[in-house]
Protein backbone atom coordinates (compact mmCIF):
# COMPACT_ATOMS: atom_id res chain seq x y z
CA UNK A 1 0.00 0.00 0.00
CA UNK A 2 1.19 3.46 -0.80
CA UNK A 3 1.50 5.66 2.29
CA UNK A 4 1.96 9.34 2.95
CA UNK A 5 4.70 10.36 5.36
CA UNK A 6 5.61 13.81 6.65
CA UNK A 7 9.35 13.86 7.15
CA UNK A 8 12.34 16.06 6.34
CA UNK A 9 13.82 15.75 2.87
CA UNK A 10 16.87 13.90 4.18
CA UNK A 11 14.79 11.06 5.60
CA UNK A 12 12.85 10.89 2.34
CA UNK A 13 16.16 10.22 0.58
CA UNK A 14 16.89 7.44 3.11
CA UNK A 15 13.49 5.87 2.44
CA UNK A 16 14.13 6.05 -1.30
CA UNK A 17 17.40 4.14 -0.88
CA UNK A 18 15.52 1.52 1.15
CA UNK A 19 12.70 1.32 -1.41
CA UNK A 20 15.30 0.88 -4.18
CA UNK A 21 16.57 -2.17 -2.27
CA UNK A 22 20.08 -0.78 -2.18
CA UNK A 23 22.56 -3.46 -1.08
CA UNK A 24 25.62 -1.43 -0.07
CA UNK A 25 25.82 2.02 1.50
CA UNK A 26 29.27 3.47 2.23
CA UNK A 27 29.14 6.93 3.72
CA UNK A 28 30.74 9.58 5.87
CA UNK A 29 28.63 12.18 7.70
CA UNK A 30 28.61 15.85 6.75
CA UNK A 31 26.12 18.65 7.33
CA UNK A 32 23.50 19.02 5.90
CA UNK A 33 23.42 15.47 4.55
CA UNK A 34 24.05 13.54 7.77
CA UNK A 35 20.49 12.45 8.57
CA UNK A 36 20.26 10.55 5.29
CA UNK A 37 22.96 8.10 6.25
CA UNK A 38 22.01 8.16 9.95
CA UNK A 39 18.52 6.97 9.13
CA UNK A 40 19.88 4.32 6.75
CA UNK A 41 22.23 3.10 9.50
CA UNK A 42 19.20 2.80 11.84
CA UNK A 43 17.17 0.92 9.23
CA UNK A 44 20.04 -1.51 8.60
CA UNK A 45 20.67 -1.94 12.33
CA UNK A 46 16.99 -2.70 13.00
CA UNK A 47 16.95 -5.24 10.19
CA UNK A 48 14.41 -3.21 8.21
CA UNK A 49 16.82 -2.70 5.32
CA UNK A 50 18.79 -5.60 3.88
CA UNK A 51 22.03 -3.79 3.13
CA UNK A 52 25.67 -3.67 4.11
CA UNK A 53 26.47 -0.34 5.79
CA UNK A 54 30.17 0.50 5.49
CA UNK A 55 31.60 3.11 7.87
CA UNK A 56 34.59 4.71 6.18
CA UNK A 57 37.15 7.30 7.23
CA UNK A 58 36.46 9.89 4.52
CA UNK A 59 34.24 10.71 1.58
CA UNK A 60 37.00 9.70 -0.80
CA UNK A 61 36.92 6.24 0.77
CA UNK A 62 33.10 6.25 0.70
CA UNK A 63 33.09 6.68 -3.06
CA UNK A 64 35.88 4.16 -3.58
CA UNK A 65 33.96 1.62 -1.45
CA UNK A 66 30.85 2.30 -3.55
CA UNK A 67 32.88 1.74 -6.71
CA UNK A 68 34.17 -1.59 -5.38
CA UNK A 69 30.67 -2.68 -4.33
CA UNK A 70 29.12 -1.64 -7.63
CA UNK A 71 31.87 -3.50 -9.49
CA UNK A 72 30.78 -6.59 -7.55
CA UNK A 73 27.40 -6.15 -9.17
CA UNK A 74 25.23 -4.74 -6.37
CA UNK A 75 23.11 -1.61 -6.15
CA UNK A 76 24.96 1.03 -4.13
CA UNK A 77 24.08 4.36 -2.58
CA UNK A 78 25.82 7.16 -0.73
CA UNK A 79 25.18 10.76 0.20
CA UNK A 80 27.36 13.79 0.74
CA UNK A 81 27.59 17.58 0.66
CA UNK A 82 30.03 20.36 -0.18
CA UNK A 83 33.57 19.61 1.05
CA UNK A 84 32.74 15.92 1.26
CA UNK A 85 31.75 15.91 -2.39
CA UNK A 86 34.85 17.80 -3.47
CA UNK A 87 37.05 15.42 -1.48
CA UNK A 88 35.47 12.65 -3.58
CA UNK A 89 36.30 14.47 -6.80
CA UNK A 90 38.98 12.07 -8.02
CA UNK A 91 36.86 9.01 -7.27
CA UNK A 92 33.90 10.54 -9.12
CA UNK A 93 35.91 10.25 -12.33
CA UNK A 94 36.70 6.60 -11.53
CA UNK A 95 33.03 5.80 -10.92
CA UNK A 96 31.88 7.32 -14.20
CA UNK A 97 34.83 5.99 -16.21
CA UNK A 98 34.13 2.51 -14.82
CA UNK A 99 30.51 2.97 -15.95
CA UNK A 100 29.08 2.01 -12.55
CA UNK A 101 25.45 3.05 -11.88
CA UNK A 102 26.00 4.42 -8.37
CA UNK A 103 23.35 6.85 -7.14
CA UNK A 104 24.36 9.54 -4.67
CA UNK A 105 22.26 12.12 -2.89
CA UNK A 106 24.07 15.45 -2.88
CA UNK A 107 22.61 17.86 -0.37
CA UNK A 108 23.81 21.13 -1.82
CA UNK A 109 25.89 23.32 0.46
CA UNK A 110 28.12 26.27 -0.33
CA UNK A 111 31.89 25.76 -0.48
CA UNK A 112 34.04 27.60 2.05
CA UNK A 113 35.57 29.87 2.85
CA UNK A 114 33.78 31.71 4.30
CA UNK A 115 32.81 28.59 6.14
CA UNK A 116 29.15 28.08 5.44
CA UNK A 117 26.71 25.22 5.80
CA UNK A 118 23.84 26.78 3.85
CA UNK A 119 22.75 25.94 0.33
CA UNK A 120 24.04 26.83 -3.08
CA UNK A 121 25.15 24.75 -6.05
CA UNK A 122 28.88 25.48 -5.92
CA UNK A 123 29.60 21.95 -4.68
CA UNK A 124 27.81 19.85 -7.29
CA UNK A 125 28.25 22.20 -10.24
CA UNK A 126 32.01 22.13 -9.77
CA UNK A 127 31.70 18.36 -10.44
CA UNK A 128 30.08 19.08 -13.80
CA UNK A 129 32.67 17.36 -15.98
CA UNK A 130 33.14 14.13 -14.02
CA UNK A 131 30.74 12.12 -16.20
CA UNK A 132 27.98 11.95 -13.56
CA UNK A 133 24.37 12.56 -14.47
CA UNK A 134 23.04 15.45 -12.35
CA UNK A 135 19.42 15.86 -11.26
CA UNK A 136 18.21 18.88 -9.26
CA UNK A 137 15.05 18.55 -7.17
CA UNK A 138 12.47 21.16 -6.21
CA UNK A 139 10.52 19.31 -3.48
CA UNK A 140 10.69 16.20 -1.32
CA UNK A 141 8.38 14.09 -3.49
CA UNK A 142 10.79 14.72 -6.32
CA UNK A 143 13.72 13.61 -4.12
CA UNK A 144 12.06 10.24 -3.54
CA UNK A 145 10.90 9.77 -7.10
CA UNK A 146 14.18 10.89 -8.65
CA UNK A 147 16.29 8.46 -6.61
CA UNK A 148 14.09 5.57 -7.79
CA UNK A 149 14.12 6.90 -11.36
CA UNK A 150 17.89 7.41 -11.24
CA UNK A 151 18.56 3.71 -10.57
CA UNK A 152 16.23 2.75 -13.40
CA UNK A 153 18.01 5.12 -15.77
CA UNK A 154 21.59 4.53 -14.68
CA UNK A 155 21.33 0.73 -14.75
CA UNK A 156 19.98 0.80 -18.31
CA UNK A 157 22.62 -0.84 -20.53
CA UNK A 158 22.44 2.15 -22.86
CA UNK A 159 23.50 4.46 -20.00
CA UNK A 160 25.57 2.75 -17.27
CA UNK A 161 26.60 5.99 -15.61
CA UNK A 162 26.41 7.18 -12.01
CA UNK A 163 24.00 9.93 -10.97
CA UNK A 164 23.83 12.66 -8.36
CA UNK A 165 20.39 13.51 -7.06
CA UNK A 166 20.95 17.05 -5.79
CA UNK A 167 18.75 19.09 -3.48
CA UNK A 168 19.41 22.19 -1.46
CA UNK A 169 20.48 21.92 2.16
CA UNK A 170 18.00 22.96 4.88
CA UNK A 171 15.46 24.43 2.46
CA UNK A 172 14.71 20.86 1.36
CA UNK A 173 16.93 18.63 3.49
CA UNK A 174 15.54 19.81 6.83
CA UNK A 175 12.04 20.81 5.79
CA UNK A 176 9.19 18.39 6.41
CA UNK A 177 6.49 18.02 3.82
CA UNK A 178 4.12 15.23 2.89
CA UNK A 179 5.50 12.64 0.50
CA UNK A 180 3.75 9.64 -0.99
CA UNK A 181 5.83 6.48 -0.74
CA UNK A 182 4.41 4.00 -3.25
CA UNK A 183 3.71 0.36 -2.54
CA UNK A 184 6.96 -1.65 -2.37
CA UNK A 185 5.63 -4.25 -4.79
CA UNK A 186 4.97 -1.52 -7.36
CA UNK A 187 8.45 -0.06 -6.86
CA UNK A 188 9.94 -3.53 -7.35
CA UNK A 189 8.01 -3.81 -10.58
CA UNK A 190 9.26 -0.43 -11.79
CA UNK A 191 12.81 -1.13 -10.61
CA UNK A 192 13.75 -4.80 -10.99
CA UNK A 193 16.96 -6.12 -9.38
CA UNK A 194 20.20 -4.74 -10.83
CA UNK A 195 21.51 -6.85 -13.66
CA UNK A 196 25.14 -5.84 -14.13
CA UNK A 197 26.83 -6.43 -17.47
CA UNK A 198 30.05 -7.48 -15.76
CA UNK A 199 31.17 -8.08 -12.19
CA UNK A 200 34.31 -8.76 -10.28
CA UNK A 201 34.31 -12.45 -9.41
CA UNK A 202 37.09 -14.44 -7.77
CA UNK A 203 36.19 -17.50 -9.84
CA UNK A 204 36.45 -15.56 -13.07
CA UNK A 205 39.12 -12.92 -12.42
CA UNK A 206 38.75 -9.58 -14.17
CA UNK A 207 40.36 -6.18 -13.78
CA UNK A 208 38.58 -2.93 -14.55
CA UNK A 209 39.87 0.60 -15.09
CA UNK A 210 43.30 -0.70 -15.99
CA UNK A 211 45.84 1.17 -18.10
CA UNK A 212 44.40 2.35 -21.39
CA UNK A 213 46.90 3.55 -23.96
CA UNK A 214 46.45 6.58 -26.24
CA UNK A 215 45.27 4.22 -29.01
CA UNK A 216 42.05 3.49 -27.08
CA UNK A 217 41.50 6.14 -24.38
CA UNK A 218 39.52 8.47 -26.62
CA UNK A 219 37.16 5.68 -27.68
CA UNK A 220 36.17 4.98 -24.06
CA UNK A 221 35.60 8.72 -23.50
CA UNK A 222 33.39 8.82 -26.58
CA UNK A 223 31.33 5.95 -25.16
CA UNK A 224 30.65 8.08 -22.05
CA UNK A 225 29.50 10.97 -24.24
CA UNK A 226 27.25 8.59 -26.16
CA UNK A 227 25.81 7.23 -22.87
CA UNK A 228 25.03 10.81 -21.79
CA UNK A 229 23.16 11.40 -25.04
CA UNK A 230 21.23 8.16 -24.45
CA UNK A 231 20.40 9.33 -20.92
CA UNK A 232 19.06 12.59 -22.33
CA UNK A 233 16.70 10.61 -24.54
CA UNK A 234 15.68 8.19 -21.78
CA UNK A 235 15.12 10.57 -18.84
CA UNK A 236 11.73 11.85 -20.11
CA UNK A 237 10.71 8.26 -20.92
CA UNK A 238 11.58 7.02 -17.43
CA UNK A 239 9.80 10.04 -15.88
CA UNK A 240 6.68 9.31 -17.95
CA UNK A 241 6.77 5.61 -17.07
CA UNK A 242 6.99 6.60 -13.40
CA UNK A 243 4.00 8.93 -13.80
CA UNK A 244 1.94 6.16 -15.36
CA UNK A 245 2.68 3.86 -12.41
CA UNK A 246 2.71 6.28 -9.51
CA UNK A 247 1.04 9.49 -10.67
CA UNK A 248 3.97 11.84 -10.10
CA UNK A 249 5.78 13.59 -12.93
CA UNK A 250 8.56 16.09 -12.63
CA UNK A 251 9.01 17.37 -16.14
CA UNK A 252 11.61 14.98 -17.53
CA UNK A 253 14.60 17.18 -18.36
CA UNK A 254 12.86 20.53 -17.84
CA UNK A 255 9.74 21.33 -15.84
CA UNK A 256 7.74 23.98 -17.70
CA UNK A 257 5.28 26.27 -15.95
CA UNK A 258 3.03 28.63 -17.92
CA UNK A 259 5.52 28.82 -20.80
CA UNK A 260 2.81 28.89 -23.50
CA UNK A 261 2.92 32.19 -25.41
CA UNK A 262 5.47 33.54 -22.93
CA UNK A 263 7.53 36.54 -24.02
CA UNK A 264 9.86 36.07 -21.08
CA UNK A 265 10.97 32.78 -19.56
CA UNK A 266 12.82 32.48 -16.30
CA UNK A 267 15.22 29.53 -16.15
CA UNK A 268 16.55 28.24 -12.89
CA UNK A 269 17.23 25.06 -10.90
CA UNK A 270 16.28 23.52 -7.57
CA UNK A 271 13.91 25.12 -5.07
CA UNK A 272 14.08 28.50 -6.80
CA UNK A 273 12.19 26.71 -9.56
CA UNK A 274 9.42 26.02 -7.06
CA UNK A 275 9.39 29.49 -5.49
CA UNK A 276 9.39 31.14 -8.93
CA UNK A 277 5.91 29.76 -9.70
CA UNK A 278 4.45 32.33 -7.28
CA UNK A 279 6.34 35.12 -9.05
CA UNK A 280 5.10 33.89 -12.44
CA UNK A 281 1.49 33.80 -11.19
CA UNK A 282 1.74 37.35 -9.82
CA UNK A 283 3.21 38.71 -13.04
CA UNK A 284 0.65 36.84 -15.14
CA UNK A 285 -2.05 38.48 -12.97
CA UNK A 286 -0.51 41.81 -13.94
CA UNK A 287 -0.85 40.86 -17.58
CA UNK A 288 2.82 40.05 -18.27
CA UNK A 289 3.28 36.93 -20.39
CA UNK A 290 5.98 35.15 -18.40
CA UNK A 291 6.80 31.52 -17.80
CA UNK A 292 9.19 29.35 -15.89
CA UNK A 293 11.49 26.57 -17.04
CA UNK A 294 13.08 24.64 -14.20
CA UNK A 295 16.11 22.77 -15.51
CA UNK A 296 15.85 19.45 -13.69
CA UNK A 297 18.82 17.76 -15.33
CA UNK A 298 22.07 19.68 -15.71
CA UNK A 299 24.12 16.78 -17.11
CA UNK A 300 23.27 15.71 -19.75
CA UNK A 301 22.29 19.29 -20.55
CA UNK A 302 18.95 19.52 -22.41
CA UNK A 303 20.18 21.89 -25.10
CA UNK A 304 17.76 20.74 -27.81
CA UNK A 305 14.80 21.24 -25.50
CA UNK A 306 16.02 24.71 -24.55
CA UNK A 307 16.37 25.58 -28.21
CA UNK A 308 12.73 24.56 -28.74
CA UNK A 309 11.58 26.38 -25.63
CA UNK A 310 13.26 29.61 -26.74
CA UNK A 311 11.44 29.77 -30.07
CA UNK A 312 9.32 32.90 -30.17
CA UNK A 313 10.56 33.99 -26.73
CA UNK A 314 11.96 37.52 -26.51
CA UNK A 315 13.86 37.26 -23.24
CA UNK A 316 15.35 34.51 -21.09
CA UNK A 317 16.38 35.36 -17.54
CA UNK A 318 18.59 32.76 -15.88
CA UNK A 319 18.94 32.58 -12.10
CA UNK A 320 22.06 30.75 -10.96
CA UNK A 321 22.66 29.73 -7.34
CA UNK A 322 26.33 29.48 -8.27
CA UNK A 323 28.95 31.38 -10.18
CA UNK A 324 31.97 30.39 -12.20
CA UNK A 325 34.47 33.00 -11.07
CA UNK A 326 35.83 34.92 -14.01
CA UNK A 327 32.77 34.14 -16.13
CA UNK A 328 29.13 33.88 -15.04
CA UNK A 329 26.60 31.36 -13.76
CA UNK A 330 26.80 27.93 -15.39
CA UNK A 331 23.16 27.95 -16.39
CA UNK A 332 23.59 31.29 -18.18
CA UNK A 333 26.60 29.92 -20.05
CA UNK A 334 24.90 26.67 -21.03
CA UNK A 335 21.70 28.37 -22.15
CA UNK A 336 23.67 30.78 -24.34
CA UNK A 337 25.69 27.91 -25.79
CA UNK A 338 22.48 25.98 -26.49
CA UNK A 339 21.01 28.89 -28.44
CA UNK A 340 24.05 29.58 -30.60
CA UNK A 341 22.99 29.55 -34.22
CA UNK A 342 19.25 29.96 -33.49
CA UNK A 343 17.27 32.32 -35.69
CA UNK A 344 16.18 35.43 -33.74
CA UNK A 345 17.50 34.20 -30.39
CA UNK A 346 16.07 35.86 -27.28
CA UNK A 347 17.99 38.35 -25.17
CA UNK A 348 19.57 36.66 -22.16
CA UNK A 349 20.05 38.21 -18.72
CA UNK A 350 21.95 36.28 -16.07
CA UNK A 351 21.18 36.70 -12.39
CA UNK A 352 23.33 35.32 -9.57
CA UNK A 353 21.31 34.82 -6.40
CA UNK A 354 21.08 32.86 -3.18
CA UNK A 355 24.78 32.09 -2.70
CA UNK A 356 25.70 30.62 0.66
CA UNK A 357 22.06 30.11 1.57
CA UNK A 358 20.84 33.68 1.17
CA UNK A 359 17.09 33.40 0.89
CA UNK A 360 15.56 33.90 -2.55
CA UNK A 361 11.88 34.72 -2.15
CA UNK A 362 9.22 35.04 -4.81
CA UNK A 363 9.47 38.82 -4.26
CA UNK A 364 13.16 38.66 -5.25
CA UNK A 365 12.35 36.54 -8.28
CA UNK A 366 9.51 38.89 -9.26
CA UNK A 367 11.95 41.85 -9.12
CA UNK A 368 14.41 39.99 -11.36
CA UNK A 369 11.68 39.19 -13.85
CA UNK A 370 10.36 42.78 -13.87
CA UNK A 371 13.88 44.07 -14.46
CA UNK A 372 14.39 41.57 -17.28
CA UNK A 373 10.97 42.50 -18.68
CA UNK A 374 12.00 46.18 -18.81
CA UNK A 375 15.24 45.27 -20.58
CA UNK A 376 13.22 43.19 -23.03
CA UNK A 377 10.97 46.18 -23.78
CA UNK A 378 14.04 48.37 -24.24
CA UNK A 379 15.56 45.70 -26.49
CA UNK A 380 18.81 45.78 -24.58
CA UNK A 381 20.15 43.91 -21.55
CA UNK A 382 21.60 46.59 -19.32
CA UNK A 383 23.65 44.20 -17.19
CA UNK A 384 24.65 40.85 -18.60
CA UNK A 385 25.35 39.44 -15.14
CA UNK A 386 23.59 40.87 -12.12
CA UNK A 387 24.33 39.81 -8.56
CA UNK A 388 20.99 40.08 -6.78
CA UNK A 389 20.62 41.95 -3.46
CA UNK A 390 24.34 42.62 -3.03
CA UNK A 391 25.02 44.84 0.00
CA UNK A 392 27.20 47.57 -1.50
Amino acid sequence: MARVVIEMGNYIASYAAKAARVKVVAAYPITPQTQIVERIAELVERGEMDAEYVCVESEHSAMVACIAAAALGVRTFTATSAHGLTLMHEALHWAAGSRLPIVMAVVNRAMGPGWNIWPDFSDSLSQRDTGWIQFYCADSQEIFDTIIQAYKLCEDKRVLLPAMVCFEGFVLSHTSMPVTIPDQGDIDEFLPPYDPGWTLDVDNPLSHATITPPEWYMEFRYLIQEAMENAKRLIPIVDEEYRRMFGFKHGGLIERYRCEDADLILMTMGVMGSEAKLAVDRLRNDGLNVGLARVRVFRPFPKEEIKGLAEGVRMIATVDRHTSFGMEGFLATEVKASLYGSKNPPLIAGFIAGLGGRDVTFHDIESMMRKAWDWMEEGKVEKEVEWVNLRW
Partner: protein
Protein backbone atom coordinates in the same frame (compact mmCIF):
# COMPACT_ATOMS: atom_id res chain seq x y z
CA UNK B 1 39.77 -7.80 -24.61
CA UNK B 2 43.42 -7.40 -25.49
CA UNK B 3 43.97 -3.69 -25.97
CA UNK B 4 47.10 -3.12 -27.99
CA UNK B 5 47.02 -6.60 -29.47
CA UNK B 6 44.67 -5.92 -32.31
CA UNK B 7 41.71 -7.83 -30.80
CA UNK B 8 39.47 -4.74 -30.97
CA UNK B 9 39.26 -2.80 -34.20
CA UNK B 10 36.93 0.05 -33.25
CA UNK B 11 34.78 1.41 -30.44
CA UNK B 12 31.82 -0.82 -31.41
CA UNK B 13 33.98 -3.82 -30.41
CA UNK B 14 34.65 -2.38 -26.96
CA UNK B 15 32.90 -3.17 -23.67
CA UNK B 16 31.45 -0.06 -21.92
CA UNK B 17 34.52 0.29 -19.75
CA UNK B 18 38.08 -0.94 -19.64
CA UNK B 19 37.97 -4.60 -18.64
CA UNK B 20 40.78 -7.09 -18.84
CA UNK B 21 41.13 -10.71 -17.93
CA UNK B 22 44.46 -11.52 -16.32
CA UNK B 23 46.72 -12.94 -18.98
CA UNK B 24 50.31 -12.57 -20.00
CA UNK B 25 50.94 -9.43 -21.97
CA UNK B 26 47.37 -8.10 -22.08
CA UNK B 27 48.66 -4.59 -22.74
CA UNK B 28 51.79 -5.57 -24.63
CA UNK B 29 55.33 -6.51 -23.69
CA UNK B 30 56.20 -3.71 -21.29
CA UNK B 31 59.84 -4.76 -21.15
CA UNK B 32 60.29 -2.57 -24.21
CA UNK B 33 60.23 0.46 -21.88
CA UNK B 34 63.59 -0.65 -20.40
CA UNK B 35 66.70 1.51 -20.75
CA UNK B 36 69.06 -0.87 -18.98
CA UNK B 37 68.76 -4.58 -18.25
CA UNK B 38 69.76 -6.46 -15.10
CA UNK B 39 72.08 -9.34 -15.90
CA UNK B 40 72.72 -12.00 -13.26
CA UNK B 41 76.20 -13.42 -12.84
CA UNK B 42 75.24 -16.94 -11.77
CA UNK B 43 78.82 -17.69 -10.74
CA UNK B 44 78.42 -15.19 -7.85
CA UNK B 45 74.69 -15.77 -7.16
CA UNK B 46 74.02 -17.57 -3.84
CA UNK B 47 70.28 -18.08 -4.61
CA UNK B 48 69.35 -15.94 -1.57
CA UNK B 49 66.29 -14.81 -3.61
CA UNK B 50 66.31 -11.22 -2.31
CA UNK B 51 65.98 -10.12 -5.95
CA UNK B 52 62.92 -12.38 -6.31
CA UNK B 53 61.38 -10.82 -3.19
CA UNK B 54 62.13 -7.20 -4.11
CA UNK B 55 61.22 -7.20 -7.81
CA UNK B 56 58.19 -4.83 -7.85
CA UNK B 57 56.90 -6.26 -11.13
CA UNK B 58 57.10 -9.97 -10.28
CA UNK B 59 59.43 -10.45 -13.21
CA UNK B 60 61.86 -12.74 -11.42
CA UNK B 61 60.90 -16.37 -11.12
CA UNK B 62 62.59 -19.30 -9.40
CA UNK B 63 63.92 -22.18 -11.42
CA UNK B 64 63.73 -25.72 -10.07
CA UNK B 65 67.16 -25.30 -8.51
CA UNK B 66 66.04 -21.91 -6.98
CA UNK B 67 68.12 -20.00 -9.51
CA UNK B 68 66.46 -16.59 -10.13
CA UNK B 69 65.38 -16.07 -13.75
CA UNK B 70 64.54 -12.59 -15.09
CA UNK B 71 61.68 -12.25 -17.56
CA UNK B 72 62.93 -9.62 -20.00
CA UNK B 73 59.53 -9.40 -21.72
CA UNK B 74 58.23 -7.45 -18.70
CA UNK B 75 61.29 -6.30 -16.70
CA UNK B 76 61.35 -2.50 -16.93
CA UNK B 77 64.93 -2.19 -15.76
CA UNK B 78 64.24 -0.37 -12.50
CA UNK B 79 67.44 -1.78 -11.01
CA UNK B 80 66.02 -2.64 -7.58
CA UNK B 81 67.27 -6.23 -7.87
CA UNK B 82 70.78 -5.01 -8.64
CA UNK B 83 70.64 -2.58 -5.75
CA UNK B 84 69.43 -5.23 -3.29
CA UNK B 85 71.73 -8.07 -4.34
CA UNK B 86 74.12 -8.57 -1.38
CA UNK B 87 76.67 -10.33 -3.61
CA UNK B 88 76.69 -7.60 -6.30
CA UNK B 89 75.97 -10.38 -8.73
CA UNK B 90 73.47 -8.36 -10.78
CA UNK B 91 74.80 -5.68 -13.10
CA UNK B 92 72.75 -3.18 -15.07
CA UNK B 93 73.78 -3.10 -18.72
CA UNK B 94 72.59 -0.40 -21.11
CA UNK B 95 70.12 -1.62 -23.71
CA UNK B 96 71.14 -1.06 -27.30
CA UNK B 97 68.89 1.53 -28.92
Amino acid sequence: MGLGRGASRGLRDLPPTILSSPKVGSVGRTGSWRLSRPVINYDRCTKCLLCWIYCPEGCISRAEDEKPIIDYDYCKGCGICAKECPMDSILMEMEEV
